[in-house]
Amino acid sequence: MLAGRHGPAVRWALDFQVRVGTFFGATRMVPVSSAHVAADVGLTGDAGLEFVERLVEQGARVRVPAVTDPRSVDFDHYREFGQPEAHVAKERRLVEALTKMGMLPCHTCINYQTVTPPRFGEHLGWGDTGSVIFANSVAGARSNFEGGPAAVAAALTGRVPAYGFHLPEQRRATFVVEVRDRPTEWADWGALGCWIGRRVTSYWEVPALVVPDTDPSVDDLKHLGAALASYGSMAMFHLVGVTPEAPTLDVATGGREPARRLVVEPGALAEVYASFRPEHAQIDLVVFTAPQLSLLEVQTIVERLDGRRVAPSTRLILTVNHQVRAEAERFGYVGQIERAGGLVLAGVCFYVMTPEILREVNGYRTILTNSAKLANIIAGSGYNPILRRLDVCLDAAVRGRLDA
């Protein structure tokens, strides 16, 4: 491959992987069963778009199933948000190039729930931080954060350098989090991830959470992982008695004494919510996204909304992938959200939808969400994010206001 017998694209890919792997002390490559490629045109810029198109001209073809991460544009709805045609045209070019390489243009960050569910012990070349932490933690599969170009390389060579979370020693818990405040819904698990990530931020740290008598859903764990990755840059967690590499705390730590122990006291999650302060009562946006919603999340939102209409001054947005959207349409959920005045966008995630442009064009400022990850990232784009539980978000959407 390095000699170029498989073409210049594969030679680039392997050379890239050898450089990155050598930096982190990898001495070998491991085959991966799939790649997950984060490359929207907001991320890649013009330079990245042209780079991907050049690979296609060089005959780049995927060797393993490769799934794309969300786009910055819902091609059926971008006009309603005032996204510029020039940006949309570039996003179309990028989709075309990735598809020509043989990637599946699913545009999803919940590939682990819909397209390529991970298996215990399998090696992956995945690139969305939320999908990587889910695969490592909940399934016991093995992946580093393979950012866009690294996931493209993994798709082209069918392997990745074996360092970091591909190795058993990196997967052991480095610290313990004793949780005495009980998480009861998705937003609470995200708030818990936020609480931990605000105190420990490192790719190389792995928390072992001890939560008494807990029985979290897959969607709970998805919000926990997404928040840990977003606030703490972490790629793996253990939940003792729940995740597969943590039947006991002792197994999770590999028998080593953890470097530190954090305690989440009762009231800690309420403090996380209180740390997100609305500048004023008027709510511009209520957004359920980051990660894209599962069908069960959409169902719950529709049921809790219960036929109520969203206030005219507030925009309600749900983001899903195309698979979930198709089922949500079939079940009538999309129609119910639209009749309530909301929108169900497909193949996007809100924070990659050119949020600065959306803010400038539409005058958005206050954004209410149950996603701790969104509340973290969107602040960097000039929004006033407010993290709250689902029912608080829905009531505010109906009233158009969030009163303290």
């Binding site: 984060a38 991320l43 690139g127 931080t129 170009p149 977003s230 840059s233």
Partner: protein, 149 residues
Amino acid sequence: MTMATATAVLAGPAGVGGPVEGEALVSTQGFNARYDLDRTRGVFSRPAHDLYGQSCAGKIVVFATAKGGIATSWALLDLKARGLAPAALIFRETNPVMVQGAVLADIPLVHRLDPDPVTTIRTGDWVRVVPEAGRVEILRRDGARGKTW
């Protein structure tokens, strides 16, 4: 070839990229090329960042950590294409996404140096980075006088 005698040498594992010299810009904070930088100007744009308002273009930038998600893996190439990329990146401790971005953009990067680069190197120092040897040399201590080039 510059043959200035180094006033201090920092050593660590081999990095990526080729040797380079330049003026240092030092942060005690983390770095994310998407959320800390205005990519059209190469200027630190997040008000809470300690390099807020400064340009990274052509500088050898020193950070404590690499932060956040996967955006940096593409962002450094975009900066490079606009002529706004740093000449090299030095971290106390970095992460895979930052290294992926640096390799794609061909920007030299080293980390895990002894002594600690964040406290040893000062903004304004003239430094040489030799990634293959895992070495950073402080050639002129201009940072001590607070001078900027």
